[in-house]
């Protein structure tokens, strides 16, 4: 027969000294301070600025919601919204599909996985501005490497950067190239967390490799894929730097996306910080809603 030990010790441990209670908060305080100063405060300031007008960047006149109504009645804004939506949808779809295929390939790779992973990850480390400049040379219709290869196999010399419909394709391809390694690494870690005994059981039951991917891998990878889709969606809406150096927003404004619209409003003459801030708030709302919808859809599909 066993007897229960007295609970005296446990009761005593519930009363921690104040220094131990405060310690976790002190550890996170510097980080929270930096976050508040460099993220929260500028965001609040930006929201506030969206209700003001400034023609010189220093004197501000309250205008209520005039900036918002002005933007929403601007035909160029809606053209920019269409371009941003087209880019984001293309970029998210292509990035997720290719990164998934790449992750599956790397996962199946026994030798050289590390070296290959590093190679695919490399574009993530290059400055997007440099990426834009390099791809600008590579996609030149007359002298670019891409068209030299296409021309050699009889596919002509498409005007990647000079035909509006192709320019949007070009920025989707380059955007995908930049982010591919990052998304593939996330998906690879998701693949590695899948229990291998499931594949062994499936193999014993006579499953083909494609059936294993379709019935085991993809369903179990879905939560990781949702993370990638959400990250890619945010990156798509925020794309700017490599596009600005690759196409300058052209041809004929076909690749001018939301962030460039904000940038141009904020820094062109006459300066319109209020208008730019209002556009940034609209972008934030759109990104938030789309991300939230993605999240809800992801949760539902997980539940199923």
């Amino acid at each position: 027969m066993t007897t229960l030990a007295p609970q005296v010790g446990r009761q005593r441990s519930r009363r921690r000294p104040t220094s131990r209670t405060l310690a976790p908060y002190l550890f996170v305080f510097p980080n929270m301070l930096i976050f508040a100063v460099f993220t929260i405060w500028p965001a609040i300031n930006g929201l506030n600025l969206s209700f003001y007008d400034s023609s010189n960047g220093r004197t501000f006149r309250p205008v209520g919601t005039e900036n918002y109504t002005s933007i929403l009645s601007d035909a160029e804004f809606w053209a920019v919204v269409r371009h941003t939506a087209a880019f984001t949808i293309g970029f998210v779809a292509l990035s997720t599909a290719v990164a998934t295929a790449l992750a599956l390939m790397l996962h199946a790779q026994r030798r050289g996985r590390g070296a290959l992973s590093a190679a695919y990850f490399l574009p993530v480390l290059i400055s997007p501005v440099v990426v834009g400049i390099v791809w600008r040379a590579a996609l030149d219709r007359q002298t670019g490497l891409v068209n030299q290869v296409l021309s050699a196999v009889g596919l002509g010399q498409p005007g990647w950067l000079v035909e509006p419909s192709l320019a949007i394709v070009a920025i989707i391809l380059v955007g995908t190239w930049i982010h591919l390694g990052f998304y593939a690494m996330i998906l690879l870690s998701g693949l590695q967390s899948i229990d291998t005994s499931l594949y062994e059981a499936a193999k014993i039951d006579g499953s083909t490799p494609w059936q294993s991917i379709r019935l085991i891998t993809l369903p179990l990878l879905r939560p990781t894929m949702m993370v990638v889709i959400i990250l890619a969606t945010i990156a798509g809406f925020q794309a700017f730097d490599f596009i600005y150096t690759l196409t300058g927003g052209g041809p004929v404004r076909a690749t001018t996306l939301m962030v460039q619209y904000i940038y141009e409003n904020g820094f062109s003459y006459p300066i319109a910080y209020g208008l730019a801030s209002a556009a940034a708030v609209i972008l934030f709302v759109v990104v938030f809603v789309v991300t939230f919808v993605n999240y809800v859809i992801g949760r539902r599909s997980e539940a199923i």
Binding site: N56, R58, Q142, V162, P164, G248, G250, P251, V252, Y269
Partner: protein, 433 residues
């Protein structure tokens, strides 16, 4: 052997523009013999530092550095020269000014953007300071109240340059006067004979495209900051130009591939891909150094009118900088007679000072090319100067490029483009007033 380029022709032409200068209240017809500051002792700047934000067209960088060294040794002040790409200068300066981080001085192509922040040079150097410059140049740096918010550091005039070797090989005479139709016919012949990709190249710039508008008889903005766009003439000009680009006689990829940013076609000319290139005298120094073929500046083509389109570069100083007085003194010093002359010689700039315009500048080479550009000043219609001097010009020029882009890409016809342009010019004028 060095020859002497006399700029008296320019002086005469600019003197003819006195009506423009007369429109600028505060400018004076009297001249001041003193070119030194009236209220500033430059010796008091010893040990102080000023930041000079600058963009370069090439050889002017060394000329500027040399002048800065001289300024530093004369005053004991230090100059922190910060060089930015031309396309980024306005954005970068606006960001710095908004952030309360104004440089002491800057070189700009449009000072109107910064007039709220700029010092009034007349406050430092007297109400007659503007009269040290030619009436035309002086008129471009004063606002309606006669404040002088910038100093004209060099005057420019658009004009073509040709690949003389290519012309000779094709058996086409170097032109001394030609129409646009003759230019295109000659250029096509030369391009074909030399296996060049294009016949004519023009910078993607609203200022350069304004040259074509002017030659076809119209401008966007006239005296009194008024919309003077003649739609019929603008339609003719844009039809002619966009047909050139659409047919790849002028490089279509270059035009469409540059996005919304200013882009020079100088590399295409230097790569011998085009025999005729419309730009301006600021290219002379760079071409003298880098062109691997014989080239020459030639007169502008004529349509309804001849001549080019004026422009200029300005130096301004900022009143909210750490050393506004030093900034103003630096700008004044750089544009004193001897100093501006030294820079002009190396940079192949056309002077803005009345005395230098009268005496002429002796360039170390390419005098005949500089003379051609000078001759184009007198050929240029006087109404174009009001457009260049207008605070609305930058945005009107942007609209001209944007509307032309859509025509070239097949998204709209020329008539729609001209209608849109006229509305955009109205909007630009309203925004700038």
């Amino acid at each position: 052997m060095r020859t002497r380029t006399t700029i008296s022709a320019a002086g005469a032409a600019l003197a003819a523009l006195t009506f423009t200068a007369a429109c600028a209240p505060g400018s004076s017809s009297s001249t001041s013999d003193s070119s030194s500051p009236k209220t500033i002792d430059v010796k008091s700047f010893k040990g102080k530092t000023l930041t000079y934000v600058y963009f370069t067209d090439g050889p002017d960088e060394q000329a500027t550095r040399t002048a800065i060294s001289k300024f530093e040794s004369e005053t004991g002040a230090k100059v922190n020269l910060q060089i930015l790409p031309f396309a980024d200068i306005n954005t970068s300066l606006q960001a710095r000014l908004s952030a309360g981080n104004a440089p002491e001085a800057a070189r700009v192509a449009d000072w109107h953007l910064f007039k709220d922040e700029a010092v009034d040079f007349k406050q430092y150097f007297g109400k007659d300071y503007a009269s040290q410059f030619t009436p035309g140049a002086a008129s471009t740096v004063q606002d309606g109240s006669g404040h002088m918010y910038a100093v004209p550091s060099d005057i420019t005039i658009n004009g073509p340059m040709i690949n003389v070797d290519a012309f000779k090989k094709a058996g086409v005479a170097v032109p001394t006067k030609w129409t646009w139709d003759e230019l295109v016919a000659d250029a096509k012949k030369v391009a074909a004979a030399n296996n060049m990709k294009y016949a004519v190249a023009i910078d993607k710039s609203g200022n350069r495209l304004s040259t074509v508008l002017s030659q076809y008889g119209t401008s966007m903005i006239g005296p009194g900051n008024k919309n003077v766009l003649d739609k019929a003439k603008a339609t003719k000009a844009l039809t002619f130009f966009t047909d050139l680009v659409k047919s790849d006689v002028a490089p279509k990829d270059f035009w469409l591939g540059s996005g919304s940013k200013y882009t020079g076609a100088n590399e295409i000319f230097l790569a011998k891909q085009v025999p005729v290139y419309l730009s301006g005298p600021w290219q002379v120094g760079a071409f003298a150094k880098n062109a691997k073929f014989t080239w020459a500046a030639v007169p502008n083509p004529c349509a309804e009118r001849c001549g080019g389109f004026p422009g200029g570069k300005y130096m301004t100083a900022f009143k909210n900088s750490k050393q506004p007085e030093l900034g103003a003194a630096f700008v004044e010093w750089m544009n004193r007679s001897q100093n501006q002359a030294e820079i002009d010689k190396t940079a192949f700039w056309l002077p803005t000072r009345a005395d230098l315009t009268k005496s002429g500048i002796q360039y170390p080479s390419r005098n005949s090319d500089m003379s051609v550009f000078v001759s184009q000043i007198s050929e240029t219609p006087t109404d174009t100067w009001a457009g260049e001097a207008s605070p609305a010009f930058t945005n009107a020029a942007k609209a001209l490029i944007a509307e032309t882009d859509k025509v070239v890409a097949g998204q709209q016809d020329v008539k729609t483009a001209v209608d849109n342009l006229s509305n955009a010019v109205d909007k630009a004028i309203k925004g700038a007033s």
